[in-house]
Amino acid sequence: MNYIGTIGEKEVRVSVRETGVARYAVTIDGQEHLVDAHQVQSSVWSVLYGETSFEVDVQGKDEEFEVLISGDCYKFTLMNEQRRAMIRAGGKGAAGKAMVTSPMPGKVVKLLVKEGQEVKADQGVIVVEAMKMENELKSAVAGKVKEIFVKEGEVVESGAKLLLVE
């Protein structure tokens, strides 16, 4: 299988081949790495790279990964090559920049703006409370509040759309 990894600005080509029980040859930009990898607990892997031992916690949602090794967090995306080709062709993935979403489950305490109101980039637009801490969320872009999807007092999930600025 072939994948495209995106780490910051950098893109790498990754392919995986199974070479035995729990053994894999993983090629990154042409360089082959042989590993012995066992999924030992939920998302935790024991990886022997040569004889060097790593515990690796792979947290991934869709194609976005956050991988923990010894307290260091590696963030990147990893996408099946065909899938990416399809998405590119379809033109998806452009929107969302101006969408304010809730980074955690919580309760909407206060809306700081109204629909139609002009906002600056980095201006606070909504306050969400989780675990007794209030978090003021900001608009990433300057523009006009196009739509507000929630009401004050509403309980929202992590990732819920809160409001759209255009």
Binding site: M1, Y3, G5, I7, V14, V16, E18, G20, V21, Y24, V26, I28, H33, V35, A37, Q39, Q41, S42, S43, V44, W45, V47, Y49, F54, E55, V56, D57, V58, Q59, G60, F65, E66, V67, L68, I69, S70, G71, D72, C73, Y74, K75, F76, L78, N80, P103, M104, P105, G106, K107, V109, V127, A130, M131, K132, M133, E134, N135, E136, V155, S158
Partner: protein, 503 residues
Amino acid sequence: MFRKILIANRGEIAVRVLRACREMGIRTVAVYSEVDRNALHVRYADEAYLIGPPSASESYLVIDKIIDIAKRSGAEAIHPGYGFLAENPRFADRCETEKIRLIGPSAHAMRTMGSKTIARKTVQAAGVPVVPGTVEPIATEEDVFRVAKEIGFPVMLKATAGGGGKGMRLVREEGELRSSLRMAKSEAKSAFSDDSVYIEKYIEKPRHVEIQLLGDRHGNYVHLCERECSIQRRHQKVIEESPSVIVTPEMRAAMGKVAIEAARSVRYEGAGTCEFLVDAKRNYYFLEMNTRLQVEHPVTEMVTGIDIVKEQIRVAAGEKLSIRQEDVRQIGHAIECRVYAEDPDRNFIPCPGLVTSLRTPGGPGVRDDSGVFEGFEIPIYYDPIISKLVAWGKDRTEAIARMKRALTEYVVTGVKTTIPFHIRVMNNRHFIEGNFDTNFIDKVFFKEEEERQLENEDVALITAAIQVFLEERKRAMAQKPAESAGPVSMWKYSTRPGIRKLG
């Protein structure tokens, strides 16, 4: 001694108190909200009573309900833990009226020390240096602006009834004042049902050092030396240790004496803590007194061998303190890391959710005070604390090495945690050298982290790629037979080596 105690709390601190009671042979009563039915404190208690919906204001904070359960269960005493009702003098009054012993100081002591402004006045009168600022809550927005300009920026806005970093805002310049005031008041209102705030001069590069105290009804007091809690984020302690690297024996004795005087002034009973700010010249300023068990009490227990919760219970039952000042020895060094369900890489945003797997560290010198288990769903309604990990070593170097070792053993999946953050702090040169103040995390640490090169990017990428590869194959295996359910497609799969084994 009490035969039965109600624990009016949840999470790790409820478990902590339950453990002490169980070791003392005292029966325990837990209370729980609807989301906490499966929580550890319900399972570790001898009895458990439902007290309402998830929201704390409808359950853990409702005095009537707690008192009602205490009566129904026949509990003779209530341990409030920290947070919730722990420093609520109205609750203390009510317990007295109902002839139920509250394990904590008197309502008078709570009122005096609980109002930061009155506490400042009291202590200042006794000659203890305090940080410049107002001694009264400030009534109007105009006053806030006026006083802030008088003292000069930066200033701190603090909730009069505050604690735990809630209702607290640092304001560096006038332009930030209005919005910070609104946030501080709103937080204070929702956390303490009291939105009054006061202002203090903000001391640059301060270190936070506090003295743990115990007092009994018979006028005996001991201090259990200091803890340093300068490693904070959003003004909330995240790493604590004892001893403090900046405290000399003379300073320890002096601060201990002052702290005991402060306690004596309100005839303090039980466990309490006097917090001080220490500036670069080792001047210390009384900050406030916490009239409750502190989150970070385990570091003191590790270096002194004294079980603070058991002492609390004993003195609440009228016994004398079992220790004299000369018996208190600070042996070795202890560090506590608070493990929260938060994302340290996204400004410590809370990450409640299901704990899908858990491996707690063990071995020599390690203590884990946890309130979760594998399969527990950390609720959105309360503090996102998972556990407090404490490491003891014969000196600070060993304690840090041990903490780092324990943190790397600690596995919590399903929610983001502050474990990686703590590992990075333990590796930080300034932390190891003891060279930090309360701004360290926000001002120094994260900047240094940004510049640090990560070493194992390849391994991270390789492992994630293998996981994706296996997941895709699993999906393919699950779909293919259904989509084109003929024997041909099955056969096609079975001939590819290694495929069947792992599907």
